[in-house]
Amino acid sequence: MLNNVLGIINVIENEQTLGELTEQRSLAAVPMGGRYRVIDFPLSNMVNAGIKSIGIFTHYKMGSLVSHLKNGREWNLDTKRRGLFFLSPDFSKYLFSPNKWDVSHFTTRLGYIKTSTRNYVLITGCNIICNIDYQKVGKFHQEKGAQITAVYKEILPEEKEKYSPYLSFRISEESRIREVNSTPPPSGKDNMCVEMFFLSRQLLLELIDTCVKQNKWDLVRDGLLGNLRDIKVYGYHFPGYLAKINSLSNYYRHHMDLLQPKVWRELFFAAGPIYTKAKDSVPTKYLADASVQNSLVANDCIIGGKVENSIIFRGVKIGKGAHIKNSIILEKGIIDNYSRVDYALLDKEVRVTKGKEVSGTDDAPVVIRKQNII
C-alpha cells in the first residue's frame, strides 16, 4: 500500500470546456456516471492504493466540491492524522493563473507540501476518468529506479483529436521518456501524457524551487519534464479504459461508453470501488409500463416509461408513455408523460413537460441548462 505517499489532486481545470455544465460548478464537481462526480475517480484511485493523505488544490467555485467531499468520510479520509485537505490560495491577494500547472499554484501551497511527513508525492489532474491501480505505478517506480514516473496511455491515430491538446511522449525501450512534444506526431499511434506523476516529495520541492529561480512557470513542462537528460523520468503505461473530460462531446461519448458492460465493470471495479457521497436513496421503482433497455439507472428514480441507451442519474422521474433515447438525464430530472427526449443532455432538475420533445443528434446532443423547464 502506498501509505508513504502524499496525494495531490489539482482541480484547477479549464472551466470553459464543459460549457453550460461548468457554469455554476467546477469541473471536479461535474456529475458523472449516474451517481458520481468527476473528483470521485481520481480521489478513489488514490484511496484504493492506500494513500491516506490527500490535498485538493482548489480554485474558484469550490462550494459544491467542499459540500460533496466534506471531511472525506466516504473515502475513509476522516482521520485524526493526515486525511483530506482543501488548499485554496488567498484570492484577495493572488493573481490567479488559468494555467492548470502554473508553478504559482504550488508555491502558494508550499507549506502543505513542506510539512508533510510522507516521502513520495503522487500529483494528478482531475479530468481523466479511469480506474487505475497506483500500487502498480509505485512498484514500477521502484523497479525502474525512476526519479519521476509519468503515466501515459497509448492512443490510436483516430483518437488523437478527441484527446487534444495533450503532451506526447517519445519513450525508449526500457520505458524512459526521451522527448516531450505538445504537438502529436502526424501519423501512427501516440503516447499521451495523462497528467499523473509519481516522485519523491524532496524532488518535487527542488523542482518547484528551480522553476521559481529560473523564472519558469509550467511545473509539468519546465519542472517535471523539463530535464529529461539529467532526471530519470520513466513512462508507466496504463492499458485500461480512460476518458478525458475536456469537451461536452467527450463527456457525452464517455457516458455512452459506460453502456458497454465491459467498460462499466472496469471503471467501477477494476482496481477498487469508486466512492462517492452517500445519499439516503430508495431503490428505483419500475412501474407496470416501464421498459428499460441498454441503460444505466441510479437509485431514487421512478420509471413509468420507456428508456433506451441512456444514463439516468439519481432522483429522476419518467412518466408513463415518455420515451428517453440516447440521453443523459442528471439528478432530479422530471420527464412528464408522453414527452420524448433523444440525443440530449439534461442538467440537474430539468423538467420536460407533458408531450414535449427534446432532441439533438449524435454529433451534437442538445444540452438543457440546470432547472430549465421545457
Binding site: 462499466w264 439516503d280 436513496s281 431503490p283 419500475y286 416501464a290 441498454n294 439507472v297
Partner: protein
C-alpha cells in the same frame, strides 16, 4: 444529561418463524425492501420524532446488528450526550443473567435509563415495519395525563386473535388488555409501542421482577397488570401502514407492499425518509434484452432477463432469459441465464424459500 424522553428498542428476539433468515442474524437485522434492515424503520422513526437517545437491547446473534448499528450514524443518532447504545446482557457485581423477557430486559437496563433521567420512556420493537411520529403520541400521552400509553391499530377482525387486543372506554382509557384472545372483544391491536412515565414504569418492573409466575413480558404480564390495577393507561390510535414481519408470509407481503405507483408503504417520502446504510454500488445496468416491471431494484444489479413484481437488493445479477416473478432476491444473488424463480425468497447462499399462495412456506437448499 437530563432528557425528556428516551427510547428502548427490543432487538433480542430469536425470530425462529423467519427460518433461514434469522439463523445467523437477529431478526431486526434481516434485510428488507431492496436496501434496508428491518430495524431501520424504528430507528428512523426515533430520529424523525426528535428522540436523540436510544438503547437497543440485544442478545441473540447480535454480531451483524451491533456492527450495523455502530455509533448510530446512519440514523443521525450519533451525537454526544445521547445517540444509540447497544445494550447486551452483562455481568454486574452480583453476577450476570440473560434477558428473560421484554420486561426483564428493560428491568436489567434501568441503570442505563437513569443516566439520562428521562420523564418518559418509550418501548419499541425492532422488528416492525411502519412510519410513525412518536412525538404525536407523546403529546397525546401528556394531554391525557396518562401513566402509560399503548399505540393501537385496527386490524381485520379475523386476525384479531393473533394480537394483543384492547377494549377502551370512550375517552380511550384501556379497560381490558388481552394477549391473543380466543374471542376478541375489539379489533384494536397493540403495536408493541408503549410510552411510560418513568417512575411508574420502574415501579411496575420492580414488582414484575419479584413475581415468579411472570414471564416478564410487556404484552403478556406488565401491561395487563397495569390495566387490572385500573391505572391510567390509554390507547393511542395510529392510522397508517404497520406490519409485524415475524413470519415468512408477512415478510414477503410487506416487501410486495412497496411496489406499484401508490404503494401501501411509501418509501419516497421526503418528509420521512427511512435511513439506512448506503451501499456503494454503481448504477444498475439493464441489458438490451432486459424487461423490468412493477419492481423495486437497487444499484449495482446487472439485468439481462425479465423481472416482474419483485424486490432486488444490490449487486444481484439476472442472466439472459431468466424470469423473476413475485420474488425477493437478497444482495449478491446470481441468477443463471434461463432460470425461472417465482414466489420465492433467495439469499446470498442460494437458499431458496418458495412461497405458495395460501400455503405454508417450505424451504430447500
Amino acid at each position: 444529561m437530563k432528557k425528556e424522553w428516551i427510547a428502548l428498542v427490543m432487538a433480542g428476539g430469536q425470530g425462529t418463524r423467519l427460518g433461514f433468515l434469522t439463523q445467523t442474524l437477529a431478526k431486526p437485522a434481516v434485510s428488507f425492501g431492496g436496501k434496508y434492515r428491518i430495524i431501520d424503520f424504528t430507528l428512523s422513526n426515533c430520529s424523525h420524532s426528535g428522540i436523540d437517545t436510544v438503547g437497543v437491547l440485544t442478545q441473540y446473534q447480535p454480531l451483524v446488528l451491533n456492527s450495523y448499528i455502530g455509533n448510530g450514524w446512519h440514523w443521525d443518532l450519533h451525537h454526544s450526550g445521547g445517540g444509540v447504545t447497544v445494550l447486551p446482557p452483562y455481568v454486574k457485581m452480583q453476577g450476570g443473567e440473560w434477558y428473560r423477557g421484554t420486561a426483564n430486559a428493560v428491568y436489567q437496563n434501568l441503570e442505563f435509563v437513569d443516566i439520562y433521567n428521562p420523564d418518559y420512556v418509550l418501548i419499541l420493537s425492532g422488528d416492525h415495519v411502519y412510519k410513525m411520529d412518536y412525538s404525536l403520541m407523546l403529546d397525546f400521552h401528556k394531554m391525557k395525563k396518562a401513566s402509560a400509553t399503548v399505540a393501537v391499530i385496527q386490524v381485520p377482525w379475523a386476525e384479531a386473535d393473533s394480537f394483543g387486543i384492547m377494549e377502551c372506554d370512550p375517552e380511550g382509557k384501556i379497560r381490558e388488555f388481552e394477549e391473543k384472545p380466543l374471542k376478541p372483544k375489539s379489533n384494536l391491536a397493540s403495536m408493541g409501542v408503549y410510552l411510560f412515565n418513568r417512575t411508574f414504569l420502574e415501579e411496575y418492573l420492580e414488582r414484575d421482577n419479584q413475581d415468579s409466575s411472570s414471564q416478564h413480558d410487556f404484552g403478556k404480564n406488565v401491561i395487563p397488570a397495569m390495566v387490572r390495577a385500573r391505572e391510567s393507561i390509554y390507547a393511542y390510535p395510529f392510522h397508517g401502514y404497520w406490519k409485524d414481519v415475524g413470519t415468512i408470509e408477512n415478510y414477503w407481503q410487506a416487501n410486495m407492499d412497496l411496489l406499484g405507483p401508490e404503494p401501501l408503504l411509501n418509501l419516497n417520502d421526503p418528509e420521512w425518509p427511512i435511513y439506512s446504510e448506503n451501499p456503494n454500488q454503481p448504477p444498475l445496468y439493464l441489458g438490451p434484452s432486459a424487461k423490468v416491471t412493477n419492481s423495486l431494484i437497487n444499484e449495482g444489479c446487472v439485468i439481462y432477463g425479465e423481472v416482474d413484481h419483485s424486490v432486488l437488493f444490490p449487486a444481484v445479477t439476472v442472466g439472459a432469459g431468466a424470469v423473476i416473478k413475485n420474488s425477493i432476491l437478497m444482495p449478491q444473488v446470481q441468477v443463471e441465464p434461463g432460470t425461472r424463480i417465482e414466489n420465492a425468497i433467495v439469499d446470498e447462499n442460494g437458499i431458496i424459500y418458495v412461497r405458495k399462495e395460501g400455503e405454508r412456506i417450505k424451504g430447500y437448499a
